[in-house]
């Protein structure tokens, strides 16, 4: 039955998925187990998205299904859904208003158990630094779609250095113009162009 739920989720079959969850709750499966299956499901959906097999609308669909499932499961949850305890500060850089990519990343990171502080779009370097300092987050994710705004990421990294925070936080960047050269230029630690990779990077950071 576990596999069936996973399959329904991954195939974005909302009706089937919700029906299965109802059944499983009745059959006495713990809500946490269901939440765990959902996490795996979202991960596979993310992977298919990275491969180009799924697209934005499919991700939104997955999000919808997940919301539906959580609606069923929540009343039975005695404890909060556990996070992995790792927090990430995330935002789109100053001067840039593109937020779809950022939102998708945040959605997938949250589904994988990260606690994400979303600073929104057009975030100034100072705001990023302030948030890192206040949350003590070990990961800072910055999204950039306008190549023009790449320079502001460098400024974030420089300001982190000045504030003495550079050692405690890993800077991960992503978005349309991002590549190895941009990573090196800005002084960021990692970059990713697809979500599977991005999540693997974030997981990798904590393991170290």
């Amino acid at each position: 039955m576990k596999d069936e739920l996973l399959k329904a989720l991954v195939n974005l079959d909302e009706e089937e998925a919700l029906a299965l969850v109802e059944k499983q709750i009745e059959a006495g499966q713990t809500p946490l187990e269901i939440v765990e299956i959902c996490k795996n499901g979202v991960e596979i959906v993310g992977k298919r998205y990275s491969e180009g097999h799924y697209f934005l609308a499919d991700l939104i669909m997955a999000e919808e299904i997940l919301k539906g499932i959580m609606g069923i499961v929540e009343p039975y949850l005695s404890v909060d859904v556990p996070t992995n305890g790792i927090s990430i500060v995330f935002g789109t850089i100053e001067g840039d208003i593109h937020d779809l990519g950022k939102n998708i990343m945040i959605y997938l990171l949250r589904s994988s158990g990260f606690q994400v502080y979303d600073l929104g779009v057009d975030v100034s370097p100072e705001q990023f630094v302030k948030a890192v300092s206040e949350t003590g987050a070990p990961i800072l994710g910055i999204s950039v779609l306008l190549s023009f705004c790449v320079g502001s990421i460098k400024k974030v990294v420089d300001l982190l250095e000045e504030a003495g925070l550079r050692e405690q936080v890993k800077v991960v960047i992503g978005g349309y113009p991002v590549n190895q050269t941009v990573k090196e230029y800005t002084g960021a630690d990692y970059y990713a162009t697809d979500v599977t990779n991005a999540i693997a990077i974030c997981r990798g950071i904590i393991k170290k």
Partner: protein, 599 residues
């Protein structure tokens, strides 16, 4: 130093060892396409090269930006004239009442006498309709000689009652102007006879700023580095225009001093760069231009190859991403006298959309991205020789290829066709996903099914042309990622359209006409654009193409001072809808990504 010879243009330069072919081309003044600005990521700068040292050296394909010269080399470029030819061949001038601001007065100036020793300037001035004109030193300089050498017969050229030239004798039968369209990709100059009101001829070329990247953002990024980079970009576009103008002058036997006025349209970034004005703050939000009004300067200030005292008029823009080219479109579509509700779309890297009706003009720009220009598409290319421009899928794939029978890649119109056809026959579903299951493949004609495959990297792809029928010797495919890229472009245009309709409070069914402006709009197959939901689903007969409307508008302004006033008024009336802070945009965008009709 190493020598590089570019063929077939046959230009040779010497450059320091280790420079890339792209840099050498820049030095030689030779155009090589480079969408990514030389980062090695776009693949558009591919050229064939051969060592010049040994006779039997083989020719290799290399990326011009990544191949660093070590020895004497010959580089072969294909001439991509078709791009601009395609753009200029569409033009015709609308019928308007001729009343250019340029007027010529042939004057028989009385000779001075001892009884009446009136100064030359004043005797001339007295004959003009408005006898109080400002004294202009630059014209007075040679006035005495011109008068006396021509028996006191002269022609005064006036622009809105300001004298801009005094010519010897009667030149009233010669009067020329330029309409200039500065596109991010292509620049075009039209030479116009201001007496007969007709187009004499047009010339276009790739915007020479192209070496700094294909999109406006990369140009702004370069310009933002400092005054000398800004000047470099200005020089490049003016240099390019001067090449076009001197060709036009030569071929048509028109002296540059006989070109009295130029009207320029372009997107806001291009207008800034043309005038040498810092465009830096156009790139980051809130996308603020330095100026919005029409700008008039003397040609000599810019170094444009025409009468140095003639005026260059840059039409007003509407916003940071809605430029004077869009104002040109509004002028030529005569939006102030259209009936009912009409939608005008200029499909390109940056899609400009105009919705006119209910006494309003709404405009927006939507970042379609370069997919329509063939960039970011694995085998994408501009609409030039070897590009697949039409695709039909029946038992097998049928193609139309520009200028030739072997394909090199696919251009925007071909891409739209291909994807629309792939959805129609079920190779991909409307969500854009390849249908790879055995039972899905079985429904396809066998020859078609055999073209659907997974690449070595695991990505699904469709073979449009087998290697043997291509110029490049490898299969030309459309990948899953290509389709996603096109969906983003399509989604941006369709979502922008929906937002404007919503903003005006009307439904697509109320649209009287949908007009497609710009070169791309002319080549796109309407069925395909409708089929994939790029355009609102109105009857196909109500979708019309209006050619290079931006250029057309510039010509109209050149030919009629009234049109100039109209341009200024339209730019003021037009409301700009900023999509980046529209709440509903994101939802509409995601809905519009699907390749079905979803208006």
């Amino acid at each position: 130093m190493v020598k590089v010879q570019f063929l077939p243009v046959n230009k040779t330069v010497e450059v320091p060892r280790g420079k890339s072919i792209l840099e050498a081309a820049r030095i030689a003044g030779v155009q090589i396409e480079s969408t990514c600005g030389g980062k090695g990521t776009c693949g558009k700068c591919k050229v064939a090269k051969r060592s010049a040292n040994s006779k039997d050296a083989t020719t290799q394909w290399v990326l011009a930006c990544q191949y660093f010269l070590q020895e004497e080399t010959v580089v072969f470029l294909d001439e991509k004239k078709e791009v601009s030819q395609r753009k200029t061949s569409l033009d015709q001038i609308k019928k308007i009442i001729l009343e250019p601001s340029i007027k010529k007065y042939v004057l028989q100036v009385p000779k001075p006498s001892l009884e009446n020793p009136v100064p030359d300037w004043e005797r001339l001035e007295a004959l003009l309709p408005d006898s109080k004109i400002t004294f202009r030193r630059s014209l007075a300089v040679s006035l005495p000689r011109i008068l006396r050498e021509n028996n006191h017969e002269v022609t005064v050229v006036m622009d809105s009652m300001v004298p801009i030239a005094i010519e010897p004798g009667d030149t009233s039968n010669r009067c020329f102007g330029l309409a200039i369209d500065i596109g991010t990709t292509t620049i075009v100059a039209h030479l116009i006879d201001l007496i007969g009101g007709q187009l004499i001829s047009s010339r276009g070329m790739t915007n020479p700023q192209n070496t700094f990247g294909a999109d406006v953002i990369s140009r702004i990024t370069h310009a933002s580095q400092g005054p000398s980079q800004l000047e470099e970009l200005q020089k490049r576009v003016i240099g390019g225009l001067n090449t076009l103008i001197s060709e036009l002058s030569e071929v048509n036997a028109v002296a540059s001093e006989e070109i009295y006025q130029a009207v320029v349209v372009g997107n806001t970034t291009m207008s800034h760069l043309f005038l040498g004005i810092d465009p830096t703050y156009l790139a980051p939000a809130p996308f603020t231009p330095v100026f919005q009004q029409e700008v008039e300067v003397e040609a000599k200030e810019l170094g444009l190859a025409m009468l140095s005292t003639g005026k260059v008029l840059v039409l007003p823009n509407v916003a940071g991403y809605v430029g004077s080219d869009t104002v040109g479109v509004m002028v030529s579509a005569e939006v102030n006298s259209l009936e009912g509700i009409n939608l005008i779309i200029d499909i390109g890297t940056n899609g400009e959309i105009i919705l006119v009706g209910t006494g309003k003009i709404l405009t927006c720009s939507t970042a379609a991205g370069p997919a329509f220009e063939g960039a970011e598409i694995k085998f994408g290319m501009r609409a030039s020789g070897g590009a697949i421009e039409e695709v039909r899928i029946t038992d097998d794939v049928q193609l139309e290829i520009i200028a030739g029978d072997k394909a090199r890649g696919i251009c925007g119109s071909g891409l739209i066709d291909a994807v629309a056809e792939m959805v129609r026959v079920g190779i991909i579903d409307p969500s854009g996903r390849f249908q790879l299951k055995a039972d899905q493949l079985k429904k396809l004609p066998p020859l078609i099914a055999s073209r659907v495959r997974s690449s070595s990297s695991g990505q699904a792809e469709f073979v449009l042309v087998w290697a043997k029928d291509t110029v490049i010797g490898e299969d030309i495919v459309l990948t899953q990622k290509d389709i996603r890229e096109l969906q983003l472009a399509k989604g941006a245009i369709a979502a922008g359209t929906k937002i404007l309709l919503k903003e005006m409070g009307v439904k697509f069914t109320q649209l009287n006409k949908v007009m497609l402006a710009g070169a791309f709009g002319n080549f796109i197959k309407k069925e395909s654009a409708l089929g994939m939901g790029l355009l609102p689903p109105i009857p196909i007969k109500d979708i019309i193409t209006i050619g290079n409307a931006a250029s057309e508008g510039a010509k109209m302004v050149l030919l009629s001072a009234k049109e100039r006033i109209r341009a200024v008024e339209l730019a003021k009336t037009a409301e700009h809808i900023e999509l980046s802070n529209k709440k509903g945009f994101q939802d509409e965008f995601i809905k519009s990504l699907s390749l079905g009709i979803n208006f």
